[in-house]
Symmetry: C3
Subunit: 139 residues, 3 copies
């Protein structure tokens, strides 16, 4: 099995932001020369997500609204974690809900995604330097 | 590393449906001849899920009810995504919550699942042709 | 591709409990001798989770509280699954929300985690013997 490992850095302007990283992942697959296998894309922080969904800005607004109103309101007062001096417990719960990593199949040298599938980094507590790892594995 | 890739198609009668695909995944593991490794099972659509849970019809009813009443109500009016002419934003949020892929270990030539674990396709916006990819990887 | 497979058993004192298993996973990576690849950590039960997040006891309380009050209340009366004689439908829905497995990259012989990332077993219906599988794969 061959592998290629690459780290991607972010420093978002907004505290919550959704960023399409499909092209960056695709580029690592090409550079790896791997024809059959998979790529693991995994946030290296506990207040961020990686997910596969739709490149549509209305949906991104829906996701941010839904995380705040249906899943885990930011409201720092309600969480024990924030007694440590943090205010970001909600970002942890959002990361748990959406997940922090995806595995995408690589077939015939390409990301084997459906027609509408794109890969995203979901920043739930940004405005500081954070990163994820892209690891391509296969033959 | 050896790989075997197979695509599984669905066209559900109902818009939301949960389908046990363990036997189909198992068959691909057998055909692959792989003894040690893993199988990636991944929906190729952004309004569907793949998950591991229980083969029990009461629970499937609970999951559909919970997605509608606790996680993301269908109610098209509430989502920005639906301004594009779609009505399925809720299906995207359900896919994000449950996830779109699983990795199941393959040990000694078999799916290494616990006694009650089965693999499911969760269709959240069906009644049209959709598919998933099964990729067995290992030696 | 080389593999190493190990099963980890639990019998929690409380019905819901969060247990840091990073050291156990790390030990399997070391024993495997694998330098580049990944480790799959997967619950073998449908009422448990494996996830990556923060080693902070206030946050663990927040997670348990959030699962009960925001995601899926235990309340056995509300679920069809519990007609089978079970009372644990909520534990199934919690497993679906947080997920039952993670894949952690292995780089240069080590778990390639960010500074705050730790691996956890989330028991949502314990007080009985349950297990997970750790499968290290790579070269």
């Amino acid at each position: 099995m061959h592998t290629r490992t690459h780290y991607l850095w972010f420093e978002t302007k907004k505290r919550q932001e959704i960023i399409d990283i499909t092209d960056e992942v695709d580029q690592e697959v090409v550079k790896s020369g791997i024809r059959e296998g998979m790529v693991l894309v995994s946030a290296m922080h506990i207040t961020a997500s990686v997910f596969v969904n739709d490149h549509e800005s209305g949906l991104w607004e829906d996701i941010l609204h839904w995380l705040e109103h249906a899943i885990a309101p930011w409201d720092p007062e309600r969480y024990h974690h924030n007694r440590t001096g943090e205010d970001n417990a909600a970002a942890h719960l959002r990361s748990l809900t959406i997940g922090h990593e995806v595995i995408v199949p690589v077939t015939d040298g390409k990301l084997d995604l459906g027609p509408w599938q794109r890969i995203f980094y979901g920043e739930w507590d940004g405005q500081r330097r954070k990163r994820l790892v892209i690891k391509v594995m296969g033959e």
